[in-house]
């Protein structure tokens, strides 16, 4: 597959609803057909695509897709909560410590609701799967809501929150104060705490402090892991494929992502524009009312219920759509000079099976 260009890890990024999952699955399928052991890691696939990939009954494990190929195709759906739990268990010094964290009522909110949490755990999973040596290519379908910054800065963000030092400064006195209450705390951290507590109440701060205490000693492990995740993001073996539709909102997001990658010194591997409307006028032929009336007459088709008018209107509308799409694709090509760009035409049906994925793969330069 040309967008892969020999890379081992591919992250498909872009705004929601542009066909990211489909593109990711098509890339993995293409790699499998080329003889690679390929895995697609997806987050929130459309139901019918999930069904066709056999993902419905799956938990947090990879499953092999049944197909005739030189290589292998595997798929996996990421479960956010379970992945975090596993990560905590792996890094905890004891089963008790792991349990204390998993039981903390803040942990759930932090692991599932914190910005960048899903992006981080997805990359963490990619690292784990790739390091296992069981796959030649891992394709990641990123969360629908991610923006570029969430993705690139997820390791830092996660570390920032888990960093005990900042916490100790502000929450340490809180733990010592215990039931005596905040009023007895010394300035300046006491003042900061008292002020923050006016917003959230002191219970929340205490929960937070307890959570951080439970985390004691695990930070170093996390830090090392996050550094590996970060290194993986910028490794030459990793490629970012921008997926978009010709919708200006989507291309804007793709360009934004591209610039964010550039700022971090990462090159965009390829851009895939899905659902590009083809211009029916490329076939030539009449496109105005009088000429259409004549063409119908020649073909001996009765011009009933204003058929010629309806055809003319439809041609005009689709020409508008095709023009808009063409303009947007050109703009993208212009702004992403040097990045391979692939367009996939709008297909007559939704893609939800392997045959459909295969068809898409052809537009991505598969053989």
């Amino acid at each position: 597959m040309r967008p892969l260009d020999g890379r081992k890890i591919v992250c498909c990024v872009g705004s929601g609803g542009v066909g990211k999952t489909t593109t990711a699955a098509a890339l993995a399928l293409g790699a499998a057909m080329e003889g690679k052991r390929a895995l697609v890691l997806t987050i929130d696939p459309a139901r019918r695509l999930a069904n066709s990939l056999g993902l419905k009954a799956l938990g947090n494990a990879e499953t092999r897709i049944d197909l005739t190929a030189r290589g292998e195709m595997w798929a996996m759906m990421l479960n956010l909560k379970r992945s975090w739990d596993e990560l905590v268990r792996r890094n905890a010094r004891s089963a008790e410590q792991a349990q204390a964290i998993l039981d903390n009522k803040l942990y759930q909110t932090l692991s599932t609701a914190m910005a960048g949490s899903l992006e981080y755990i997805a990359m963490e999973k990619v690292l784990e799967l790739y390091s296992s040596g069981r796959f030649d290519v891992v394709v990641l379908d990123t969360p629908p809501t991610s923006n570029a910054l969430d993705f690139l800065h997820a390791p830092d963000r996660v570390l920032d929150v888990l960093d005990n030092n900042a916490m100790r400064i502000v929450l340490g006195p809180m733990l010592k104060a215990g039931k005596l209450g905040l009023r007895l705390l010394a300035a300046p951290s006491g003042l900061v705490l008292r002020t923050l507590a006016r917003f959230t109440g002191s219970d929340f701060l205490r929960d937070l402090a307890e959570f951080m205490m439970a985390f004691e000693g695990m930070y170093e492990g996390f830090k090392e892991r996050a550094a590996n995740v970060k290194a993986l993001l910028s490794s030459p073996q990793t490629g970012f494929v921008l997926v978009t539709s010709p919708n200006p909102l989507a291309t804007q997001e793709a360009l934004f992502f591209h610039r964010a990658l550039e700022r971090d010194g990462i090159r965009t591997a390829a851009v895939v524009v899905n659902r590009v409307q083809r211009d029916p006028r490329r076939h030539g032929g009449p496109d105005n009312l009088a000429a259409l009336e004549e063409a119908l007459q020649l073909a001996q088709i009765k011009d009933e219920n204003r058929l010629s008018e309806r055809l003319c209107e439809t041609l005009t509308e689709q020409a508008i759509l095709a023009d808009l799409d063409r303009r947007e694709v050109e703009r993208l090509r212009d702004m992403l000079r040097g990045v391979p760009l692939f367009t996939v035409p709008r297909l007559r049906k939704d893609v939800h099976d392997l045959a459909g994925l295969w068809q898409i793969g052809e537009y991505l330069g598969g053989d």
Binding site: V192, F199, F204, T314, E317
Partner: protein, 303 residues
């Protein structure tokens, strides 16, 4: 129950890219045409509504876009600051408490604090009164963020109150929760497209919203292609020879999209117990005030 147009807060939710801003603008325009004084609150990173009316961005100050129609961009940083100052009263105290590394840490860890203050700000607008004690706005339209499930934002009070039960934020969140749950004063609409993922998401969102007993507003099915040709016509034109190849392909494309629309409309009607409002696909070379005007007329009847 009052019609959606007579409720104080109209929330527009749905998957990203389904046209939430367009529908928000159109709802606001339709209400403004009926003489309501309307404020559109945008809470996503990039403001869109003012631009749709061909106006410069409003920013964090309320700006008038049309007679009776105003918009404002609610941003987390400014909302946080305003909110903190409302409670703390002193700028120095604010700086001391919020502009340091420890607070940054705290803000990252506190559950959805950005969403909380933004929702708090929207609530403040919705509850704001004039000097004579009347409501400042007849309607506040909240263009909700494009979350994976669209629900996170609206569940913020609930999630927050589970963790925090005292303090001024908790008090405000309780009032916000009451407003969001009140069918007399609030309506929560869903925007979707006739495509698989947006339709599935709308179905899940609807179920989750009803489970939490949020007042169910209309389901807007956006960008609909209506059927225009019979199968016989398509067959005849497609066989009509090289002169009609382009017309045949266009007609066939149109009908295959119309068929998809019919399919998803059926699925949505079967599973989502809301008033389904179809918004036709607009073939516009540029999407502006003219397009919003058309959409607002298409949805008027449902309000």
């Amino acid at each position: 129950m009052p019609a959606p147009v007579d409720r104080r807060l109209v929330v527009v939710t749905g998957k990203g890219g389904t046209g939430k801003s367009t529908i928000s603008a159109a709802v606001a325009l339709a209400a403004a045409r009926r003489g309501k004084k309307v404020l559109v609150c945008e809470v996503v990173a990039k403001e869109r509504v003012a631009d749709l009316f061909g106006r410069p961005p409003s920013g964090t100050e309320i700006r008038q876009l049309l007679p009776n129609l105003y918009s404002v961009h609610v941003r987390p940083r400014e909302a946080m600051r305003e909110y903190a100052l409302m409670i703390l009263k002193y700028e120095t105290l604010y700086r001391l408490a919020f502009e340091n590394a420890a607070a940054r840490y705290f803000l990252a860890a506190a559950p959805s604090l950005a969403e909380i203050v933004m929702l708090g700000k929207v609530f403040w607008h919705a509850a704001r009164e004039t000097e004579r004690g009347r409501l400042r706005w007849d309607m506040v339209v909240l263009d909700a963020p494009a979350t994976g499930h669209g629900l996170t934002f609206l569940s913020v009070p609930e999630v927050f109150l589970r963790l925090v039960s005292e303090g001024p934020l908790a008090r405000d969140m309780r009032m916000m929760q009451a407003l969001l749950a009140d069918p007399e004063r609030c309506s929560i609409c869903i925007v979707t497209l006739p495509e698989e993922m947006p339709a599935n998401e709308a179905i899940e969102l609807d179920r989750a919203l009803r489970e939490r007993q949020f007042p169910a507003g209309p389901l807007f099915l956006n960008a609909v292609f209506e059927s225009r040709f019979s199968p016989q016509e398509i067959a005849a034109v497609t066989r009509g020879g090289p002169l009609l190849t382009a017309a045949g392909e266009a007609a066939d494309n149109h009908e295959s999209r119309a068929a998809l629309c019919r399919h998803y409309e059926g699925v949505l009607r079967d599973t989502v117990p809301r008033n389904l409002v179809k918004v036709p696909f607009l073939f516009e070379r540029s999407f502006g005030a003219h397009a919003i005007e058309k959409v607002s007329h298409a949805i008027e009847g449902a309000l």
